[in-house]
């Protein structure tokens, strides 16, 4: 009883006065009918979590099959369905919508707005995403698709894939594509028009910069995909011959159109991850982000160049050398702004006072892992070398270093960083650290040896292989996959535990820099009672200083350093 520190509780804090105007609706109807960006955001994130687990289980089944040579556990048909579902799920239903979900929740809060520009459209985006996912998974009841997540023709045409699974895949691409495009238009309008007074382009949080660029990329790339899969649907059912060479079509056309979407897609799922790194690092290093303008410019630069590199997925197709050379050079050029970002993050940590919170660990682990994926990307960009590496486990390793190292690690960093805001409760730091180390060690155990498997001649997407060194590599990889699963399970346990009994977070547990920490956790339906004003890229730091000047109450950073020294 005596230990309650009332003085600390009543100490002035920078927080806008907020209150619920109504009691707040409860029950499942309040979720189904909601247009509140926060509720929609949470529905996105839970849906993504479910698909992440499903995709993870598929990955584990794949790894179990490959754990032993000449394994007969899973039939070739089922195996092809597994990796098609795994790839499709992780790309279309996890790493892209997770940023739509997070941006849904955070975007209006971070720019000091009440909601997104078109709340009903926003709700529609979510439901289309959900139904896209259900369309794909409903095929489990019949025959799931089995032509791979990029569904190359002619294998995906009705002649070679007559089952409805391929059509389910097409409808999934249609629904999630439309969902993403409408969501992107919504984000663009919100960012362009609804920023709080004083938040010019140069004061916008870097996560919002990446969401803006992500949205433009979605509008450009997903429209291409939606058209492309419609062509496939027409070829399959309506007698057109876009992709049939015997009728004047071209099988190569699919690859160009698909990768014109497919490569920007990589930046669609990795740029917001970069945004998360750029938000988390300065907070826990207690230092401003190094080179704000360079990072924002690099984001735009990567997105522009990302539209010009698609054929580096196609170096072994019949193409002229000049085409190969162009796409090698454009892929090289994109490494420069990516490198700039990594160097800026390092410089942000340099001479900071780094607090090794779980969010920071995931961010740093993500940067370190993504760097390896970036470096192996250079090998693949050199087209003569790519002739050896493409379509092998080297590529599988590379893309997982990029997608898991970039996007999934950032996903966990974002979870540990923003969970207090979303739920009002803290996650356990010690469980989080266990989860982080398991995931990091598991990840590198799984994927580092896959480079060697690829160099030793193991192609992608084979359901069996003969023994020898390939068995050693694959066994290590399988063990690693289960370590990752364990790490993810610890975080799932952490989340369910904290939702019930986590410590109360308060409005700003991290002493962070951006506006979402200016309101209660979780925020009321209308976010802010008054419109916040922005005078720098770190408005919360300004507010803390202001409170200190007005009240004389010392505002501290976590490390015990008073504001005045800043």
């Amino acid at each position: 009883m005596a230990s309650v520190d009332y003085a600390a509780r009543t100490r002035p804090r920078p927080q806008i006065i907020t209150g619920e105007p109504r009691g707040g609706e409860k029950g499942w109807t309040s979720w189904v009918t909601t247009t509140d960006h926060k509720k929609i955001g949470i529905m996105y994130l839970w849906t993504v979590a479910v698909f992440f687990v499903l995709g993870g289980v598929e990955a584990l089944l794949i790894r179990v099959q490959l754990g032993a040579p000449d394994n007969t556990l899973i039939s070739p048909e089922k195996y092809n369905q597994l990796f098609t579902m795994h790839g499709t799920t992780m790309i279309f239903l996890v790493v892209v919508p997770v940023w739509a979900g997070l941006a849904n929740y955070l975007l209006p809060l971070m720019i000091g707005a009440r909601d997104v520009a078109f709340p009903r459209l926003n709700a529609w985006s979510y439901w289309m995403f959900l139904f896209g996912g259900i369309a794909l998974y409903a095929s489990l009841l019949w025959t799931p698709p089995e032509a791979g997540w990029f569904s190359y023709v002619p294998l995906s045409t009705s002649e070679y894939s007559p089952s409805g699974g391929q059509d389910a895949w097409i409808f999934m691409a249609h629904l999630t594509g439309l969902s993403s495009m409408l969501g992107a238009v919504n984000f663009i309008c919100t960012i362009q028009n609804m920023r709080a007074p004083g938040m010019g382009w140069g004061r916008m949080p870097l996560f919002i910069w990446t969401i803006l660029i992500y949205s433009y990329l979605i509008v450009l790339a997903l429209s291409s995909l939606t058209a492309t899969v419609t062509m496939l649907l027409a070829d399959r059912h309506f007698g057109t011959n876009f992709f049939d060479p015997t009728e004047g079509g071209s099988a190569l056309l699919w690859q160009h159109l698909f990768w014109f979407f497919g490569h920007p897609e990589v930046y669609i799922f990795v740029l917001p991850a970069f945004g998360v790194f750029s938000e988390v690092l300065p907070v826990f290093a207690r230092k401003p982000i190094f080179g704000y303008k360079a990072i924002a410019a690099a984001t735009a630069g990567i997105a522009f160049l990302g539209m010009l590199v698609w054929a580096h997925h196609m170096f072994s197709t019949p193409s002229a050398t000049i085409v190969l050379a162009f796409f090698m050079l454009s892929s090289f050029v994109i490494a420069v702004p990516t490198g700039v970002k990594i160097f800026n993050w390092l410089a942000t940590l340099w001479r900071g006072t780094i607090e090794l919170r779980v969010a920071l660990l995931y961010a740093v682990g993500g940067i370190g892992t993504f760097t390896i994926g970036g470096i192996t990307g250079i090998f693949l960009a050199v087209f003569p070398v790519d002739w050896q590496l493409t379509d092998t486990y080297f590529v599988v390793a590379h893309m997982h270093y990029v997608a898991f190292g970039g996007s999934a690690f950032a996903m966990f960093a974002a979870l540990y960083y923003w969970f207090p805001k979303l739920s009002g409760r803290m996650l356990s730091e010690s469980l989080g650290k266990v989860s982080f180390w398991l995931t990091l060690v598991g990840f590198h155990t799984t994927f580092l040896v896959q480079h060697s498997a690829g160099l030793s001649g193991m192609p992608r997407r084979i359901y069996e292989y003969s023994g020898g060194t390939l068995h050693v590599y694959n066994l290590i990889s399988t063990v690693g996959a289960f370590i990752i699963a364990l790490g993810v399970l610890v975080t799932i346990f952490n989340v369910t535990r904290s939702l019930r009994s986590g410590t109360k977070a308060g409005p700003d547990p991290w002493k962070a820099n951006t506006l979402e920490w200016f309101t209660t956790s979780p925020p009321p339906e209308h976010n802010f009672d008054a419109v916040p004003r922005v005078r720098s890229v770190e408005p919360m730091k300004d507010y803390r200083r202001q409170v200190e000047e007005l009240t004389g109450a010392e505002q501290r950073f976590e490390a015990g350093r008073p504001m005045a020294n800043v």
Partner: protein
């Protein structure tokens, strides 16, 4: 004073040492560290050299970035009394690392284009069309009138990918026509083999790791690649592009034999194909006598 040259020399020394290790240990490290080679085909060897070179640069960048990252976490960990430096940026530094990254890539571009012809263009064969070795030392002994020009001897094989087998159609020799084989591609040692790669169903990808890179087989296109096995041996590979349920079992082997042995195989294969063809023709003829209608149907199929 003595420190500065050392700090400058160190990265170079590390790079040189790494390069030396990679080159010296190339055969041993093939597979786990470097792409496979070893069939004596120059394209595979050159790709491996290019890969090793990128690997040296990659290791330096990797050690640099990860080193600084871990160093920061250890050195700048929050502790009581420490104050974070409030730095917002440094234009010179930022321009510096942008240019630095660009320079590495320009260097890689130049090296790639220097090495490209050796990987892409088929070289001259070591033997002529009749299997006689072509070399400076040989020219003194062999009948000079028989030696073909270096570009002369070349064997073009048509590779046809089908679910789930590779078919090879050989050039016509000694009046034998349309000699073909499946899965195992027999070639003469020292002969430059050019491949015309096509598919008549879905997409496949031709790949024999020890003899160079992949070439996709797409219906409606003819893709080209080459190899020259300079040592006899069996070089395994398999289809590298998902082509359906039995993609994993679409195997291919290149079997390099001395020319005489290869020629014997070719003749035997041609004879066997002839026999099979005749047997089939007899079967059809017999069928035509017994059940004319059905046979006509079978013929037209």
């Amino acid at each position: 004073m003595e420190r500065r040259p050392l700090s400058r020399l160190l990265p170079r020394a590390i790079a040189a040492a790494l390069a030396a290790i990679l080159v010296a240990a190339a055969p041993a490290s093939a597979g786990w560290l470097l792409p496979e080679a070893g069939g004596g085909s120059k394209n595979a060897e050159d790709i491996r050299t290019l890969y090793a070179l990128i690997l040296v640069l990659a290791v330096i960048v990797f050690v640099g970035v990860e080193g600084v990252l871990i160093w920061c976490l250890v050195k700048f960990k929050a502790s009581k009394g420490r104050v974070a430096a409030q730095i917002h940026g440094n234009t010179r530094l930022e321009i510096g690392w942008t240019v630095g990254a660009a320079v590495i890539l320009v260097f890689l571009t130049i090296v790639t284009f220097i090495m490209l012809p050796g990987i892409k263009n088929p070289p001259a064969s070591d033997i002529d069309a009749d299997g006689n070795p072509i070399s400076a030392s040989n020219a003194a002994f062999a009948a000079t009138d028989q030696s073909a020009p270096p570009e002369g001897a070349r064997m073009n094989i048509k590779v046809d990918g089908q679910q789930y087998v590779w078919q090879y159609t050989y050039p016509d020799l000694d009046g034998k026509e349309n000699v073909y084989a499946y899965t195992d591609m027999y070639v003469p040692v020292g002969m430059t083999v050019t491949l015309d790669i096509a598919s008549n169903d879905v997409q496949h990808s031709w790949w024999i790791p020890k003899l160079g890179g992949k070439a996709d087989a797409l219906p409606g296109y003819v893709n080209k690649t080459w190899f020259k096995a300079t040592e006899p041996g069996r070089f395994p590979g398999q289809c590298a592009e998902l082509c359906g349920r039995n993609h994993a079992n679409m195997l291919a082997n290149v079997i390099a034999l001395p020319y005489d042995e290869w020629k014997a195989w070719y003749d035997r294969q041609a004879a066997e194909l002839d026999e099979a063809e005749q047997a089939a023709a007899e079967g059809r003829a017999r069928l035509a006598e017994e059940e004319p209608d059905q046979a006509a149907g079978a013929e037209s199929e």
